[in-house]
């Protein structure tokens, strides 16, 4: 459906997109995830036709689109600031692409009400954008981008300006609408939760390069490098050196301790690595609880630097002196019950080898 082959784009000396390739089958929901300035919006704008790649090819439905202007491409786009037409009503906004694309005028009113119904905005036909709430404006923007049945839907961070609750509601709405219509969709965001919730597939980008292209589960559970591990989820990262590699995995020397980690890429003893462990995979042991049963592969004791109360959980930021003062993050999901923990300033932490990843340190 959409194929991007070795596309690059520079602005002056700045390489915004560096040799990016991807392929998206019909009907799938792809999210390009990355921090601001990673090139994801530049890539999206090239797909939309607002700018041309310096090198590489973009194919939509098997055809190269380099010389196809935006208005001749069959692409619906929802913009970051929505870009609704303020002088038109909701219905007129939705009817606009139909008129511009020469739909039979007799069918337009039916189509408009069909799509306003799809986004659950019946009764708001005559309102102008400024008479609608943020969420309702989103719905008009989606209806407008879809009413002409485009081959492809592009979302340029349209949810980033909404408050958390509305954003989460709209994430599910976008997903519902996308699945109902089966429209191929590319979404761009810096919000990892949005990417995980909405997508069939996630591409993580950084500094113009694609870092990983995988299912949401794979991106979360098996990040392909240090950047992805750090960007998705709350992850502690610290340096170490491979001590030995055996059948069960690897042993990493960090400060005074030897930790067991999941076997990663082929690593040789002595190689320096970055270790990554996610906050939710670390258990807090009671002060008198010993790891004598061997339930956990690694146990350390650290000092609580910070306690961040997040309502449903407490986040502890813990420094471990024996791990060369590495900082770990850990969740306590029952803060009321465990309130006494951490008060003493010391916390006993444990985790398993399969949850700890190692990546070769970048030279």
């Amino acid at each position: 459906m959409v194929e991007i082959c070795d596309v690059s784009k520079s602005f002056g000396d700045f390489r915004a997109v560096d040799d990016a390739s991807l392929a998206l089958p019909k009907g799938e929901f792809l999210t390009i995830l990355g921090p601001s300035g990673c090139g994801k919006t530049t890539l999206l704008r090239m797909i939309a036709g607002f700018s041309k790649p310096d090198a590489g090819k973009i194919l939509i439905n098997g055809g190269e689109v380099e010389n196809v202007p935006p208005h001749k491409r069959s692409i619906g786009m929802v913009f970051q600031r929505l870009a609704l037409f303020p002088h038109m009503t909701a219905a007129q906004n939705v009817a606009y692409p139909l008129k511009m694309r020469g739909f039979d005028t007799k069918t337009i009113p039916d189509r408009v009400s069909e799509y306003l119904k799809l986004v659950r905005l019946q009764g708001y036909e005559e309102r102008r954008p400024h008479q609608l709430s943020g969420g309702q404006q989103q719905r008009v923007a989606i209806a407008r981008a879809l009413s002409f049945s485009p081959d492809l839907l592009l979302l340029d961070e349209p949810l980033s300006a909404l408050d958390k609750k509305l954003r989460e509601e709209m994430q599910l709405e976008f997903r519902r609408i996308q699945q109902e219509l089966g429209v191929t969709t590319i979404n761009v965001t810096h919000d990892q939760r949005e990417a995980l919730v909405m997508s069939d597939k996630i591409i993580v980008m950084n500094a113009g390069r694609i870092q990983q292209s995988d299912s949401p589960e794979a991106v979360y559970r098996a990040p392909s490098n240090r950047f992805v591990a750090n960007f998705v989820g709350l992850t502690a990262l610290f340096g170490g050196a491979i001590e030995r590699v055996d059948d069960e995995g690897v042993v990493v020397r960090v400060g005074e301790l030897a930790l067991r980690a999941r076997a990663g890429e082929a690593l040789t003893p002595g190689a320096s690595v970055d270790c990554a462990i996610r906050a939710e995979q670390i258990r807090i042991l009671a002060d008198d609880e010993e790891n004598d049963t061997g339930r956990f592969d690694n146990t350390v004791t650290g000092k609580v630097d910070q306690r961040i109360f997040e309502g449903d959980r407490m986040v502890y930021q813990v420094t471990v002196p024996k791990l060369a003062d590495a900082t770990l993050f850990v969740f306590d999901h029952d803060p009321t019950h465990h309130a006494e923990r951490g008060q003493s300033g010391a916390l006993k932490l444990a985790w398993n080898a399969r949850d700890m990843l190692t990546f070769p340190t970048n030279p």
Partner: protein, 305 residues
């Protein structure tokens, strides 16, 4: 000593402007502007009064008795109706041409990605403001005059010289050139208020640039278009220098007729009547423009949010 003065000043201020009035401090700053406008209204009142008295040709004073003779004269003498019609037509033509030319200028100035281009356009826009209207009119004389630049080129090429000045088109040309910066200045914020995303959205929805322009850019720029049209229209309608210098008596506007009434034939009453008529027609037309374009256009700038 100083303290005593300060204390006395304080006491004086508290009497003139008691603290209870401090909530209205902001209005205090409005006073000079309000006073200026008010003085103008007083002058207009006097003008209205003058216009209602006929000139006594034996004394060259205005008669005591009230009459509509001056207005009757204006309506009876074809020359005044011609002047009126000429001014209105010029205002219309100049407005249309100026706004038509100013819009692309403002658009390019807002949208260009090159800082150098924007700077050049800005400087070119403000430069004419340093040169007064009269100087610019004389500039046109140098270029278009009988022995002007253009004609010497023509005769140099063996072509006959043309009469390029002292006619209506020359006045229109001079006025368009004079009004252009005003129009651009008033259109620029209106264009800047249209986010580029809206145009891109229109394109991705299937509109070519012409359709985008017609259905999105123009409607969204309406407040600026109305504003600049009103300004250009009224400035042209009331203009004096261009018809005086470039028209050379062939293309007098109302302002020239008023001037002649006051200073050539010394008929204050008639001049006042013409001035009142000009004010009424101008105000009525501006009101009409706002009504047609919708007074709401001034509120369209309401955020999209």
């Amino acid at each position: 000593m100083t303290l005593a003065i300060l204390q006395r000043t304080d006491r004086f201020v508290s009497v003139v402007w008691p603290s209870g009035l401090h909530g209205m401090n902001g209005y205090l700053f409005l006073l000079p502007a309000v006073a200026l406008v008010f003085i103008l209204v007083i002058a207009l009142g006097y003008m209205l009064e003058f216009s209602l008295h006929e000139l006594d040709l034996s004394t060259y004073r205005l008669k005591e008795a009230y009459s509509l003779t001056n207005y009757q004269t204006i309506l009876d003498r074809p020359v005044y109706l011609r002047v009126l019609w000429r001014s209105l037509l010029a205002a219309l033509i100049v407005t249309v041409i100026t706004v038509f030319l100013a819009f692309p200028y403002a658009y390019l100035m807002v949208r260009t990605s090159s800082a150098a281009t924007r700077k050049f356009l800005l400087v070119a826009l403000f430069l004419p403001f340093f040169i007064g209207q009269v100087v610019r009119a004389y500039g046109w004389l140098i270029i278009l005059g009988k022995q002007g630049l253009l004609n010497s080129i023509l005769t140099g090429l063996g072509l006959p010289a043309l009469d390029l000045i002292y006619n209506y088109p020359a006045v229109i040309l001079g006025l368009v050139q004079y009004m252009l910066p005003f129009a651009v200045l008033l259109l620029t914020p209106a264009v800047a208020a249209i986010s580029e995303d809206v145009e891109l959205a229109s394109e991705s929805l299937g509109a070519n640039w012409l359709q985008t322009f017609r259905h999105v850019v123009i409607p969204m720029a309406t407040p600026g278009l109305v504003g600049s049209s009103v300004v250009v229209f009224t400035l042209t309608l009331t203009d004096f220098a261009m018809p005086e210098i470039l028209g050379g008596g062939t293309s007098d506007f109302i302002a020239n007729a008023i001037y002649d009434s006051y200073f050539q034939i010394s008929n204050i009453g008639l001049g006042a009547a013409l001035a009142i008529l000009l004010t009424l027609i101008g105000s009525a037309l501006v009101a009409l423009m706002f009504m047609i374009a919708g007074t709401g256009t001034l509120a369209v700038t309401e955020a999209e949010e």
